[in-house]
């Protein structure tokens, strides 16, 4: 009885501010349910390996994944264009991860049949970092990465 409580306290001690905020209700479970799927565990991952775990498995490196419209050096970290294209057959999901952001996962796209495996968006980057493109194709995960240097950070505002 007591040990259970202690474990809960220990777990509580290690959670980050963001998780506390989540617990405090900025992300109400009811709301999330009404909005369809949102992979909370993956979006709260603090490191690339944690994010892989939340998606379900370590990916293999793949040459078939390429970055498009992604700069080597981004002048403004608040708006960094990231484009990912995959030529892997049966690509069903593309996720964009930024290694040194507080939460590494930026976006995850589901690609239905008939939609090309190419998405472009813009992300915020706190500092220079590797950007990972995680692709799920035919049930397996693949990854490619690219370093993007940021001259002006985008997370402090």
């Amino acid at each position: 009885m007591d040990s259970g409580r202690r474990d809960a306290l220990k777990a509580g001690g290690s959670v980050s501010l963001l998780t506390l905020l989540a617990a405090a209700g900025w992300l109400k479970p009811g709301e999330a349910g009404a909005q369809g799927a949102w992979n909370k565990a993956a979006f709260e991952a603090k490191s690339i390996p944690d994010a892989y775990k939340a998606f379900g498995g370590a990916p293999a490196q793949a040459k078939e994944i390429a970055f498009v419209a992604t700069p080597d050096i981004a002048e403004n970290g608040a708006v960094v264009p990231i484009g990912v294209t995959s030529s892997l057959p049966k690509t069903e999901q593309i996720a964009i991860l930024v290694e040194k952001n507080p939460n590494v996962l930026a976006a995850s796209f589901d690609i239905p049949a008939g939609t090309e495996a190419t998405v472009t968006t813009r992300v915020k980057m706190g500092q220079s970092s590797n950007v990972y493109a995680l692709v799920k194709a035919d049930g397996k995960y693949y990854v490619a990465q690219k370093e993007v240097k940021v001259t002006l950070g985008g997370c402090g505002g």
Partner: protein, 104 residues
């Protein structure tokens, strides 16, 4: 209610439709502090869905790391000139917005 999205969609000779969407949203990260030192609560788009003729052509889950006033582009097959493409977003406060564009 949030401002409307700007959506452009055009089909090329190969039958591939390119859709570009510019949304109007603050995309507050939840990491930033205001002048008084209090955390500004996170406020960001969580789900984006694009449909054509009742079929989902792209769905996305976003975190707060997407840039303010998010941009998104993607390409899909099967649409013709004059068809409509609809885009819906839902944010973590439960606000939502749907806009539609005609494919050129």
């Amino acid at each position: 209610m949030a401002d409307p999205m700007r959506i452009r969609a055009a089909v090329d000779a190969g039958g591939v439709t390119e859709v570009k969407v510019l949304m109007s949203h603050e995309m507050e990260t939840g990491q930033r502090r205001d002048a008084a030192g209090a955390l500004v609560p996170a406020w960001f788009i969580q789900n984006v869905t694009a449909t054509h003729a009742g079929k989902t052509v792209l769905s996305a889950q976003w975190g707060p790391a997407i840039a303010k006033n998010p941009f998104l582009s993607f390409r899909f097959k099967g649409a013709q000139k004059g068809d409509k493409v609809q885009v819906t977003w839902v944010d973590n406060r439960g606000d939502k917005r749907t806009d539609e564009a005609t494919i050129a």
